[in-house]
Every structure is written in structure tokens, then in C-alpha cells.
């Protein structure tokens, strides 16, 4: 009997030692070779879609997966400025309808085929003709290889966002040799800084990469190995951080920041999204009240934005009343106090609009953001507006919003660079202008942004932003802080223009 107990105890000790020996051992950034650290382990909150650039290439919270294995034609540096990448030079013709790009001549794909102008044209066409979320951004553009290192992009009208687009998903270049290979969805062939180790990766969960030995920009690669773990559960992310099982992690919930900082991690941040009400039915086809600008202005006065920011984001973010981001030339700090929190002034404005007893507003809701909806309803009730919520179900939320089935909605929207933002939520064909609302002043300013000189465009953007605030097209509450945590061994320069940092902007501290 004694022997059994001893044997059991010995097995338990060996097991404990085995467990202890292998727990929490993934965060080494030492063991450098040739100036590089051994491994960078990151946590992402969204798994990549297909690696085939025609089927699923995306930026935002998925950029890191694509940036690891592909190059973009242009790239953004840590400050968000456009820099050369595969294209070393680029210039427009006189009327900004033809962009000519000069390519590097020393780049090969990881299958040893050459990256040349034909390959770039093939990738651009594949993206344009495919079904990636941003495929429409290249619609109507024609691509041509003038010679081995020159590509021209021709468009009917100027596209002020084109250079930015070429630095994100639409600018990714995939080896044409992999176009017809169905496995390119999970086994990418690019020219990027890393090569995906498909054998040790688990699609959707764990992605292991090794440094590309033939990468043309080797100095920019600071780690021999890269691992990206996808975790959608906030608790799992915080646990991994506390257990030291990563070097960097996207923070999905700002309410966990204090806990993360308590574990000795540093938070880097930017602001890319705003949350607020989209007052979509500005012509009043579904909700006649919203056709009156005074009603929309009264709605803007109803919200105690500081309190909302505190309640919903633990104060991480900045209150705002405009949809253009702080990085935009259109941004004007003064506009953020246009309406303020003034329910007493809101009521007479509603009365002026013909609603002295208030009105009812149909808004869509979803259970995942119930606190937000409760607060919105309470603050609108304070000025006499009764909110009638309908929950179409999480899977129908966006579909019903864009159908459109509701005159107004709460939403968190990306604050893209100016021209993309206009085409996303302002222009008559914008995705988030589902009622296709048009306004002559807005149309005129958009035309100047597109066709005017740089100075004219800048002035028009400022005027457009001020006009949208004055006309209360939206009722923004705050810009949400995008947060990324890094451990004590890692440095990060978090660019201001994307939800996930560039993998080139991580570096080991020692």
C-alpha cells in the first residue's frame, strides 16, 4: 500500500514538473539571430478570411495576417503617412485619372516566381473582380503593365482614396501562379516578410509564420518567427495576457484595460470608430419627423456624451459630434461642442418643429448592446422622444439597417480617410446612406473634393464636415479608443489609421 502511495506521488510530481516546465513559455523575445528576436506572439480578435485576395482579403482587424505574407504596392508608416513599398515611385497625370506606378525589380514570390508588372495587374484585377469586402473600391478601374516594372491604373474620374487603397487590402499582390489553386485560400503565396507554416497552423485559430529568407526588405523584419492566435473571447484574451502567453494583444473590451495594465502591460491606442445614432431617413420617407433639421438637432442635444462614454467605454475615448476623425483635414475641434448636452434647449426646438408633445422614433436594437440602447432611450425620453425598439436579431442587424427598414439606428462606424468616409456614409451611393438621401450643398462639396485642387479639396472637406454637423445628419456620441496591449519585452508604434498595428511596427525592447 505504501508503495502505491509513493508511486502515485512520484507520478504527480513528474506531471506537475512537466506541466510547469511547459506553461507560459511562448513569450521569449530573446535568442536573436542576426539582430532579430526569436518570436513575436500576438493575439488577434478576428480570424482571417480566405488568403486568396479575390475571395477575402481584408484590412482592419485582419490586416496582420495579410501583411505577414503579402506585400502591398504602397505602405503606411507608423505615423500613417504613405510610403513606397513594392512601388518605389508613383504619379498622376494632369487630370488625376491615370496613376503610374514604378515597381521594384528585385522581388520574388515565395514560390520563386518573379514579381513584375504583369503579376501586379493580375492581383489588382483579381481583387476588383472578386468578392472581398472592399472589392468595389477598385470597380471601374483598368490596369495595364506598360513594361516589366511599370503599371498604370486608369479611372473615369479622380479617386482621392486610391493611394490609401493601394496601401491596404486592394493593394495586396499575390503570386499569379497560385490564382488557380484552391488551396491558396489557406496556403498563401506572396512576397511578404513571412511564410505561413500551414502544417503547424490551425485555420481560424493559430497561425505560425517563419521569416521569409529572401525578403527584399530584410531589415524591416525584427522577429524570426511570428505566431498569431485568434481569440474572440475577452476572458481568454485577458487570461493569456496575465499568464504571459503573448507579446501583444488587441483589446476587445476597453473595460478590461485596468486589469491588463495591472498585469504590467502597456496600452497603445488610437481612435478609428465613432459610436452614435445614424439619422438615416433625412427625407422623412419613413419617419416624417426626421425630415425637419430641428428634430435632428434636438436629438443631438439630448445626449450626455461624457456620461455615455464613461458608462459604455469606461471613459476610454473622446466625445465628438462630428463623423470625420481627428486625423482628417476636415476635422474641427470646435464642432465637437456644437450642441452639447442641453435637454432644456432641445424641447423648445422640438416644439418649433411642430412636436411640442414629443414624438416616437423607431430604432433597431440588438441584445449585445442592450446597455447602450437603454441609455439612448432614457436620454431621448428626457426630451420627449419615445423610442420604439425592434430587435431584428443579430444576424439581420446590418441587413435590415441597409435595406433600409428603420429610419434611425445606433451603430459603430469606421472613420476612414476622407474620400472613403464620404463614400461609406455621406455620398448618395454610400453604403450607410441607405435612403440615398441627397443634398445639393453636400453634392457640390463632394464634387469639389473629387475634382478640385488640393487646397480646394481641403476647404471643401472642412465645409462639408461643418455642414453635416449643422444639418445633424448624424448624432455621434464619442470616438472609441482602439486599444492594443504589449508586454514589457515589446515596443510598438501603433499607427493611427488601422485597428490592428502593422507587424513592422513591433520590435523587441532588448
Amino acid at each position: 500500500m505504501m508503495f502505491r502511495w509513493k508511486a502515485t506521488a512520484a507520478v504527480a510530481v513528474v506531471a506537475a514538473l512537466a506541466l510547469t516546465g511547459c506553461a507560459g513559455g511562448e513569450t521569449e523575445t530573446t535568442g536573436s539571430d542576426g539582430g532579430r528576436a526569436d518570436r513575436l506572439t500576438l493575439i488577434s480578435i478576428a480570424a482571417p478570411t480566405s488568403y486568396d485576395i479575390g475571395a477575402g482579403a481584408e484590412w482592419g482587424n485582419r490586416s496582420e495576417f495579410f501583411e505577414a505574407v503579402f506585400d502591398t504596392l504602397l505602405r503606411k508608416d507608423a505615423s500613417g503617412e504613405i510610403q513606397p513599398n513594392l512601388a518605389t515611385e508613383w504619379s498622376y497625370n494632369d487630370d488625376n485619372t491615370v496613376l503610374t506606378l514604378t515597381l521594384r525589380d528585385d522581388v520574388t514570390f515565395t514560390d520563386d516566381t518573379k514579381l513584375d508588372a504583369e503579376a501586379v495587374v493580375g492581383s489588382l484585377e483579381r481583387f476588383r473582380d472578386g468578392t472581398s469586402p472592399q472589392a468595389a473600391t477598385l470597380a471601374g478601374k483598368e490596369f495595364a503593365a506598360t513594361d516589366a516594372t511599370t503599371v498604370t491604373i486608369t479611372q473615369d474620374a479622380p479617386d482621392p482614396s486610391l493611394e490609401n487603397l493601394l496601401s491596404i487590402a486592394p493593394g495586396l499582390v499575390q503570386a499569379p501562379s497560385s490564382f488557380d489553386d484552391e488551396n491558396s485560400a489557406t496556403t498563401p503565396v506572396g512576397s511578404g516578410p513571412y511564410i505561413l507554416d500551414s502544417a503547424s497552423s490551425v485555420t481560424g485559430t493559430t497561425y505560425n509564420y517563419t521569416a521569409n529568407p529572401d525578403y527584399w526588405n530584410a531589415d524591416a523584419v525584427k522577429y524570426e518567427n511570428l505566431t498569431i492566435n485568434v481569440m474572440e473571447d475577452t476572458t481568454a484574451i485577458v487570461n493569456a495576457i496575465k499568464a504571459g502567453e503573448a507579446n501583444g494583444a488587441k483589446i476587445a473590451d476597453n473595460n478590461t484595460i485596468a486589469e491588463v495594465e495591472g498585469a504590467g502591460w502597456t496600452i497603445e491606442s488610437n481612435e478609428l470608430d465613432f459610436q452614435g445614432l445614424l439619422l438615416l431617413d433625412r427625407a422623412g420617407t419613413m419617419a416624417p419627423e426626421l425630415a425637419d433639421v430641428k428634430v435632428r438637432q434636438a436629438i443631438n442635444m439630448a445626449f450626455d456624451r461624457e456620461a455615455l462614454l464613461q458608462s459604455l467605454q469606461s471613459g476610454y475615448g473622446t466625445v465628438t459630434e462630428q463623423v470625420f476623425p481627428e486625423t482628417s483635414v476636415a476635422y474641427d475641434e470646435a464642432l465637437d461642442s456644437t450642441y452639447g448636452y442641453d435637454p432644456d434647449a432641445a424641447k423648445p426646438r422640438l416644439a418649433d418643429a411642430g412636436y411640442p408633445d414629443g414624438c416616437t422614433l423607431n430604432i433597431m436594437a440588438t441584445a449585445a448592446f442592450q446597455t447602450t440602447f437603454d441609455l439612448v432611450a432614457q436620454q431621448l425620453a428626457d426630451i420627449g422622444i419615445t423610442v420604439k425598439y425592434t430587435d431584428p436579431g443579430a444576424s439581420n442587424f446590418i441587413t435590415d439597417m441597409l435595406a433600409p427598414k428603420y429610419p434611425a439606428t445606433w451603430m459603430a462606424l469606421e472613420q476612414n480617410p476622407d474620400w472613403q468616409l464620404i463614400n461609406f456614409m455621406v455620398g448618395p451611393a454610400a453604403t450607410f446612406n441607405p435612403f440615398k438621401y441627397q443634398d445639393d450643398t453636400v453634392d457640390g462639396l463632394i464634387e469639389t473634393v473629387q475634382f478640385g485642387t488640393e487646397d480646394e479639396a481641403t476647404a471643401a472637406l472642412k465645409e462639408l464636415n461643418a455642414y453635416l454637423v449643422d444639418q445633424a445628419w448624424f448624432a455621434p456620441f464619442f470616438r472609441v479608443q482602439g486599444s492594443f496591449a504589449v508586454d514589457a519585452n515589446t515596443e510598438l508604434a501603433f499607427w493611427p489609421t488601422n485597428a490592428y498595428p502593422s507587424i513592422f511596427d513591433f520590435s523587441p525592447k532588448n
Binding site: A15, A16, A18, L19, T20, G21, C22, A23, G24, A47, P48, T49, S50, Y51, D52, A55, G56, E58, G60, T131, S132, P133, Q134, A135, A136, A139, E182, S184, A185, T186, S200, V202, T203, G204, T205, T206, N229, M231, E232, D233, T235, A236, N239, A240, K242, A243, E245, P392, G393, S395, N396, I398, T399, L402, L413, E414, F424, T431, F432
Partner: protein, 313 residues
């Protein structure tokens, strides 16, 4: 016995076909605009329409199901609409992970439950009271809470095990052990509680039978009476509960895999359902159904082997 197995297999095939059809219909009924869910809010209406056509979502539901069924019968479950990975690859890779958790938890809970169940039944008194109290606690405390406590104590504070992720056994045995230990414990607690109570009750019931008194009067040792005769009779109901627990653990793995960020079937189920990745969800439904049918068949066979009084019919 062979005809029994054949009949069960045939009824299993019919069951899988029915489940697959119901799952297909339910997915489409609650799916909203699937192409929009795949592409997100940034895609234009034109791109969404293109995706809808590309995936064949604009065709009649029965035609879509028919195509899926024909393809599935030839062993081709298609590709994920989201990642482009073959569904068979996606599901089989994760099946190994989930089974290592569920089988581990089933074995551990079976062993511990039998030991403490027999102890409680035989010793009675304080031991019985303690086992019953702990079983009640095991029932009452939710699995996710146990998982969170285990992570906090053993992974974050003591660093004895991994807090997140999974290491294949082929990569490192100690790494594998480190990654599955806490999830298996988290899954086992509730199962131990259920099976132990069942074993306790069955053993008490069996020991009061006449044949046990006869065996004792013939001078058989208590150990022989309990382990050779009583447990055989008491094993039937316990096995039935264990089978139910196995199926329940497959469901429990969904939560545990999320908390431990383990790439198993549970995690894939949540992700693909939220994303509207119907080929993957269908692959998972079929796999779960087949798994449950096989487990139930094996339990029936085990019960027959354990107790000759059980006739397979």
C-alpha cells in the same frame, strides 16, 4: 448481435439524414443575409449580391440541400465559405482536439465517480454525506466558473498549466498535457457528480438484493461480492448516465474551448454559426450526430457485455 448492430447503423443513417435536413433548414431560416454576414458592413450591396450568387444562395433551398447532400454522400463536404479550407480538414483536425478533452474527461469522471460512488454506498455515514454534498456542489457550480477558477489559480498564479491554446501531442507531450489538463478537469467536475450519485444509488440498490445475501452466505469476500457481482449489476444504469454525460460533455466543450481558446469543435461551432459558414456548420452537425450514434451503440454493447441479462434486440 450482428443484426442488432446492422439495424442500429441503418437507423443511424436515417437519423443523420433527417438531422442534416433539419439543420440545413434551420440555418437558412435564422440566417438573415448570409453573404452580408460573411462580408461585413464594409461591403457594398453589389459585392454582397455577387457573393450571394457565387455561393449559390439565390437558388431554391431544396436545390441547395440536394447539391450539398449529393456532394456529402461522395465524401465531399465542401469548403468553408469564410476561410476556404476544406470542411473535412477543418472538422477532422478539431475533432481530435475535442475528443481528447471529452474522452479524457469521460475516463477520469468514470474512474473517480465509480470509486467515490462505491465508497459512499459501502461506507455510508460521513463518507456518504460528504460524497453527496460534493456531488451537489459539482451539480450546482457551472462549468465555466470552474474553468475560470482553474485558470486563475493554476495557470495565472502558479504557472502550472497553460491558460490558453492547445499543443498537439505530436509536438510535445508535456505541452499537450499542460494544455488539456485544466479543460479536462473543468469538464469532469459536473460529470463526476452525476455519475457518482448514480453509481452510489445503483450499488445500494444492488447490495440489498437476494443474490447478494446468497453470495455472502456462501462465504465470498466482500471485495469479490462488490467488484465482481454488485458492480456488474449496478454498472448498467451508470453506463447509461455516462453515455449521456459524454454527449453533454460535447456541449460543455463549447464553453470550455472558448475560455481556454482551444481549437476544438466547440470553438469552431460558435465561430462558424456566428459567421454564417453553413458548409462548416453542416459538417459539424453531421460529425456530432455520428459521434452520438456511435457512442450510444458502444454503450449498448458494453451493457450487454457487462450484464448477460441485457438482451440486444
Amino acid at each position: 448481435m450482428l443484426s442488432f448492430i446492422l439495424r442500429r447503423l441503418i437507423s443511424g443513417v436515417v437519423l443523420v439524414a433527417v438531422i442534416s435536413f433539419l439543420a440545413f433548414v434551420l440555418l437558412y431560416m435564422g440566417g438573415g443575409n448570409i453573404a452580408r454576414r460573411i462580408l461585413g458592413e464594409n461591403a457594398t450591396a453589389e459585392t454582397v449580391a455577387k457573393k450571394t450568387e457565387e455561393l449559390g444562395l439565390n437558388r431554391p433551398l431544396l436545390a441547395q440541400y440536394g447539391d450539398w447532400l449529393i456532394s456529402a454522400l461522395t465524401g465531399n463536404l465542401g469548403r468553408s465559405w469564410f476561410t476556404g479550407e476544406l470542411v473535412s480538414v477543418s472538422v477532422s483536425g478539431r475533432l481530435v482536439v475535442t475528443l481528447s478533452l471529452v474522452i479524457g474527461a469521460t475516463l477520469i469522471s468514470a474512474i473517480i465517480a465509480v470509486v467515490i460512488g462505491v465508497l459512499a454506498a459501502r461506507r455510508g455515514g460521513a463518507v456518504d454525506g460528504t460524497v453527496q454534498f460534493l456531488s451537489l456542489v459539482g451539480f450546482a457550480v457551472p462549468g465555466f466558473l470552474i474553468a475560470l477558477i482553474l485558470v486563475l489559480v493554476f495557470a495565472i498564479n502558479l504557472h502550472w498549466a497553460k491558460a490558453t491554446g492547445y499543443v498537439p501531442i505530436t509536438t510535445s507531450f508535456s505541452g499537450w498535457l499542460s494544455s488539456v489538463t485544466l479543460p479536462i478537469i473543468a469538464l469532469s467536475i459536473g460529470a463526476i457528480a452525476s455519475v457518482a450519485v448514480q453509481v452510489r444509488g445503483s450499488v445500494i440498490d444492488a447490495t440489498s438484493r437476494d443474490y447478494v445475501r446468497t453470495l455472502r452466505s456462501r462465504g465470498l469476500s466482500e471485495g469479490s461480492v462488490v467488484y465482481k457481482h454488485v458492480l456488474r449489476n449496478a454498472g448498467g444504469p451508470a453506463l447509461a448516465v455516462l453515455a449521456l454525460q459524454f454527449v453533454g460533455l460535447l456541449g460543455g466543450a463549447v464553453v470550455v474551448e472558448q475560455i481556454f481558446a482551444i481549437p476544438g469543435m466547440g470553438q469552431l461551432s460558435v465561430r462558424s454559426t456566428v459567421a454564417g459558414d453553413i458548409p462548416v456548420v453542416m459538417g459539424l452537425v453531421i460529425t456530432f450526430a455520428i459521434l452520438v450514434i456511435i457512442v450510444n451503440l458502444l454503450i449498448d454493447l458494453a451493457q450487454a457485455a457487462l450484464n448477460p441479462k441485457v438482451r440486444l434486440s
